[in-house]
């Protein structure tokens, strides 16, 4: 069980959270101008690093707020 540091509630069990995937994926400035391939890239393609990864989490069983943290995908260590 990972302990995830909620910025509001402090460290809580992983089971209280929902994962939100990669952080900082910007919505396209002009979605209508995108080809199907570009749109699919925006929707479905995400980084998959071995190491530190910025990602979104929601403390769904607690304060229900979204936040961003950096997790090492190898060690599960949360660094920021």
């Amino acid at each position: 069980m990972m302990l995830i540091p909620c910025p509001w509630c402090g460290p809580r069990d992983e089971s209280e959270f929902h994962y939100g995937g990669q952080a900082g994926v910007a919505y396209p400035a002009d979605p209508g101008a995108l080809s199907d391939e570009q749109w699919a890239h925006y929707l479905f393609f995400r980084d998959n690093p071995k190491g530190p990864f910025r990602e979104r989490w929601s403390h769904s069983a607690g304060c229900r707020r979204w936040f961003t943290l950096t997790r090492d995908t190898v060690t599960n260590e949360v660094t920021a």
Partner: protein, 186 residues
């Protein structure tokens, strides 16, 4: 139609001699969303307000509080909130969510131990003392936990567990079952 509490049919008496379980039904519960101000409790805490007397303000999130009061006080508390501390704040909302949850009160020397059987938070009084609250899971059930106060006569903590109406009977059954696992008195 007569009001009927979620645990009206559940016998909560069979908990052994170390913990007492009771439902506190029909409490007024108002969900308040507003910008943070000093008149509301800090994260992880609640307080019963001197101004409103009967109202307990529970921190739920950085811009969200649950105001709990006695049964039937919805209108009075809403008006008092809107004409008082929320009057000067724009972008606020007060929603009556009284029917969403019922409340279980746990007291006795085994109350802390009983909660600890199903909750991963450190509920020891040095961490989770009177005035502390948390939203977490108890026996896989989402709850709001409050450490109300220490009992005047015994000095033991008194807990409130606010639980969704539809999960209440599950949680009550679990508490009754788990109370059988409490270690013999000490």
């Amino acid at each position: 139609m007569a009001e009927r509490s979620p645990l009206a049919d559940v016998d909560l008496s069979d908990t052994g001699d170390r913990v007492t379980l009771a439902e506190v039904p029909f409490l007024t519960q108002l969900d308040v969303r507003t910008s943070p101000s000093s008149s509301f409790p800090e994260p992880g805490t609640f307080r019963t307000d001197e101004l409103d007397g009967e109202a307990t303000f529970i921190w739920l999130g950085p811009d969200e509080w649950l105001v709990v009061g006695p049964p039937g006080a919805q209108k009075r508390l809403t008006e008092r909130l809107e004409s008082g501390r929320l009057e000067s704040v724009s972008d606020t909302s007060v929603v009556d969510v009284s029917a969403q949850r019922t409340t279980l009160e746990l007291r006795g020397p085994g109350a802390l131990e009983l909660l600890a059987l199903g909750c991963s938070l450190d509920l020891h009084p040095r961490v989770f003392g009177p005035g502390r609250c948390a939203q977490t899971t108890l026996a896989h059930t989402p709850v709001i936990l409050l450490q109300r106060k220490h009992c005047v006569t015994t000095g033991e903590p008194v807990f409130w567990v606010l639980v969704r109406a539809s999960f209440a009977s599950h949680l009550a059954s679990w508490l009754l079952d788990a109370s059988g696992d409490l270690t013999a008195g000490h």
